[in-house]
Each structure stands twice: as C-alpha cells, then as structure tokens.
Symmetry: C2
Subunit: 148 residues, 2 copies
C-alpha cells in the first residue's frame, strides 16, 4: 500500500487547496519519510507527516507520527492551535506547563492552545500520533522556549 492518494492529478489541482469534493487519501506511515533530528531547537525527536494540505490533497486537519529513541526529546514550545497526542508504542513523559504526565499506548493527551509542552522518551523509546485542527502544518506557529 504505497499510494499516497487516490486522486488523479487534474482533480487534485482543482481541489487544492482546501475545498469540498476532495477524494480520500490513504497514507501508510511506513512509506513516508522520517524527518527531523537535524535542528537542536526541536530536540532529537523525528516525525512522519501523514496528512497535511501542503503534501496531501486534504483539508482541516494535520496528522503525523512522532518517533523518539530512548531518552530522545522534543524541547519546550508552544503554539496557538491546540494539539492531541495518542500513544502508540513505548512510553515517556509529556510535561505541560510544568506538570509531568505519562504517555504510553492508548493514552490521549489534549494540549490546549498556547500551553508550553515538551516530551522526553523513556528507556525504550516512544511513538505517538499527533494532530492539529488546521489544514497545514505551516499554520502551526511553533515557538520554542528561549534558553535563559
């Protein structure tokens, strides 16, 4: 299952950006490139973008999977859109406004608009799905904490 989209290109052009009458999009995470790991401001987290209107003929939502090796981190940051995490494998700590919460498979965390949050994976690594109620990841204004 390597098809990123079932749209034909003509339909895709007409429908892009956000509009009604998009075709469904099917994305297999194992077929999507792993990104990140290069910018120390983000930390050592890596991720795969599954649904995002910059890349897929979709609208209204961004969906991805974040992947952490043992002890890997996503540094403290905030953004205007609220966000969800949903634990898939391993475990770790999600600290929101200074309060630590454990994430593990089957645990959902709602991160409110503008809440500062950070992640540290446990000894066996961590992966979780994340999503925003925005069509494009570029609409999410990541602001990392400035080192003091």
């Amino acid at each position: 299952m390597t098809d990123i989209t079932d749209c034909d290109p003509a339909t895709l052009c007409m429908a892009h950006p956000e509009s009604l009458h998009l075709a469904p999009v099917v994305v297999d995470a194992t077929q999507v490139a792993l990104e990140g790991g290069a910018d120390p401001a983000f930390g050592t987290v890596r991720w795969r973008t599954l649904i995002c209107a910059d890349r897929t003929p979709t609208s209204d939502m961004v969906l991805g999977v974040a992947e952490f090796g043992p002890g890997d981190r996503l540094e403290p940051h905030r953004h205007a859109p609220s966000e969800f995490y949903f634990g898939l494998s391993g475990d770790g700590t999600v600290t929101v406004e200074g309060v630590a919460h454990r994430i593990a498979p089957g645990v959902a965390i709602f991160i409110p608009s503008e809440a500062e949050h950070e992640v540290e994976a446990g000894a066996f690594g961590l992966s979780f799905a994340y999503g925003f109620p925005r069509g494009r990841f570029a609409e999410v204004d990541y602001r990392f904490r400035v080192a003091s």
Copy 2:
C-alpha cells in the same frame, strides 16, 4: 493512570465550553467506557470517546478509538466535517464513495467532507483512532444511507 482531567472543577467550569487557558487533559483509553453496538443503523462497531468537549474540558478536536470484532461493520454514512482514521490493530476495509481501501496499523485515511464511507473489519477484528476538527462529537451530523 485513571485521571480523566487534571483540571480542578472551578477552572473547568470557567473554561467550558471552548476557550483559551484550558488545562491539559490526559485520558487512558482502557479506562473509558466502550459505547455502541446497540443501534443497527450504526452497525456492530463500538467506540471509546477520548477527547470531546461534551465530556472533557477540551476544544477544537474530537478523538476516539473505534473497535471492531471479526467482520463487524460501520454502516455507510456521511457528515459535513472531514475525518481521519489511523489504524492501530487488525485490519479491514474502508470503502469511500464506493472505492475500497485497506486499513491496518500505521495506515492513515483522510475522509473528505460529505464523502460516503463504511467500514468492515477483517477476520481478526480491527481498531483505529478517529478524529474530527470539531470540538464536540454532537457537531458531527451523522447521516446513514437510507435502505433502498
């Protein structure tokens, strides 16, 4: 981890419904009631609602987990909000506007606004996370196909 919310009730009342300055919400799917299975219009699918502003002090997004036994079904329906599925376990067929797509762990499916869709689980059952860019499940106008 049985805490549905880290809010204190006073904050919760002030913040409810959607507003800024909500506290984070942590929900363990294993601690949430399984619903459904009683209305043949929906089919035999059951689900757990994790994030929904009717139940949790959250906003902007609905997140849940759908659970199917072998061969269980979600009958054909449509709704105005777009929706995502993200496969967690087992496999099955998601048919969107008459075209069948396989869902399995790690596969994301974007279902466009108003697209008719239905689900049939495979021989070993199926579970997937689903989400809507709406604060409340009640804002999602489920319309099932009328039997002909």
